[in-house]
């Protein structure tokens, strides 16, 4: 047992080395904008840039709309599969997981080809961007909601609520959704973390989003990108820490795992 413990510590040390050094180095690098001394000059530049806040807020807005549309689309679907049409489960699951097979670069290519000319020209409308984000978030959202619904006794809960005279709306909003709150929140935060820094769709559909902005800064400047990298890391960390916090002790939280 002793010897096995040592090996584990060595593995852990090596992993920490690999994962923490880039973060530390990036942070220190971001402080070197002024020659010969450490300063937050690059950070000041980033925060003072009006494009930073404008693109960031744009991406946040897109993320929030994506979350709302995604949940509005997937909660009823998952409920329907669980309660009314269990036979459709396989089909819905395949569709919800399909975005894993279609990389974002391929998805956006197809979206542009389909919707760039009449009868439906959507390329200049944010609908296409949001639709793309909703598709990308399908797997995470569906998995989270499905896990949540599996972890509660959905059928008994709905039957109990309805036999007590609750309407469908009351059953949904006061019984089912509160019970899978943790799942819904983890789906939301994960989607948030993915959409806010997303590059592929935003750049190809030419939207002034945070991802393309960061890429542009990376081409033009030296130290500011490092500051942006740290900000993004903290943002991702914040979203996932909230998932952990909210799902502590609650059933049915989704395990976050990324796709790029």
């Amino acid at each position: 047992m002793r010897r096995r413990g040592t090996g584990s510590w060595i593995i852990l040390a090596l992993a920490s080395f690999y994962f923490l050094i880039p973060l530390l180095a990036t942070f220190l690098f971001s402080l070197r904008a002024r020659r010969g001394t450490l300063s937050f000059l690059a950070w000041a530049h980033v925060f003072k840039d009006p494009l930073f806040s404008r693109t960031f807020l744009f991406s946040v807005e897109m993320a929030l709309i994506t979350i709302v549309v995604g949940l509005a689309l997937l909660i009823p679907t998952a409920l329907w599969v669980h309660l009314r049409a269990p036979r459709a489960r396989a089909l819905i699951e395949v569709l919800a997981l399909l975005p894993f097979v279609i990389p974002p670069i391929v998805l956006v290519f197809g979206l542009i080809r389909t919707y760039s000319r009449p009868p439906i020209a959507l390329v200049s409308s944010p609908i296409l961007l949001i639709a793309g984000y909703v598709v990308i978030s399908f797997p995470y959202m569906y998995r989270a909601i499905d896990t949540g619904l599996r972890s509660i006794n959905l059928r008994s809960l709905t039957e109990a609520a309805q036999s007590l005279g609750a309407s469908w709306r009351v059953t949904l909003f006061r019984v089912i959704l509160p019970n899978i709150r943790a799942s819904l929140l983890s789906a939301a935060f994960l989607t948030f973390a993915i959409v806010v820094g997303e590059l592929t769709l935003a750049v190809m559909l030419a939207w002034p989003a945070f991802g393309p902005y960061m890429a542009q800064v990376g081409r033009d400047l030296a130290y500011e990108p490092a500051a942006l990298a740290i900000i993004s890391f903290l943002l991702t960390w914040g979203s996932l820490a909230l998932i952990q916090l909210l799902s502590r002790g609650m059933r049915g939280a989704a395990t976050p795992g990324g796709v790029h």
């Binding site: 990036t26 459709a88 399908f138 990324g258």
Partner: protein
Amino acid sequence: MSTVSEITKGAPLARPSAGVLRRWIGLAPFLLFAILFMILPAGSLFVGSFQDASGGFTLMNVAHLFRPSILRSYWLTIEVSLITAVAGGIFGFLLAYAVTMGGLPRTVRSLVTTFSGVASNFAGVPLAFAFIATMGRVGLITTLLKQFFGISLYDAGFNLYSLWGLVLVYLYFQLPLMVLIITPALDGMRREWREACENLGASRLQYWRHVALPILMPSLLSSVILLFGNAFGAYATAYALTGGFLNLVPIQIGAQMRGDVLHDPNLGYALALGMVAIMTLCILGYTALQKRASRWLS
């Protein structure tokens, strides 16, 4: 057949088509959305890869996939994905093993899991920036090594903007992803199996060779396949790191879309088709192996 029981239950006798309709109506919004924004676009790429510039049927685009330059970029993408999947798989497994069964405190485990969740989602542009700031030509580690140890990474043959540089960067999200997906499998390994082996006088090596690895193998393989697909479709990280310098397939598709190089959208469609084909194989392999894995670990 079900009508019999419905009659006996006294359920209203609906025409079958109406019953089917009622059963599917709740799924209609999702199905419609999926068709409009996923199936149709993907289908249109499929159609487009068999069309020439004027819309006539042709197999030329698919044939062009076998041009040396395109084959080379597929091969490069497969190489990057394979190396990072296998390396990420091995190191991720070791790390997951260390935190689940390696006798480390429980706090370490939850720290590593949380960090893995973050790191596996920390990809794209900021990840590329972090590595440029660390190991780029004027990165912190590069300059420190030169200043204090007289070691010049780039003279020694290292290049962040090359295949191995990309591997180093991709591992930053591949390894944590492996930790996340293999941990449940490791948790499913029963203590009794090891104890039974020990009671029967097996060594640790024998336990791993004859018991643990065979049980874990489907999970390990399916995880590696998932990692492969994860790297195969990655665009943002490679784009931000190399600015399209490395000829990966996603980068090539992006270039065809932007019209950077010899603009030929139909070839782009074929490239995309090839990608989806490879990804589909990945997912099929993944599901088949997952089914095997669930025989022992559930």
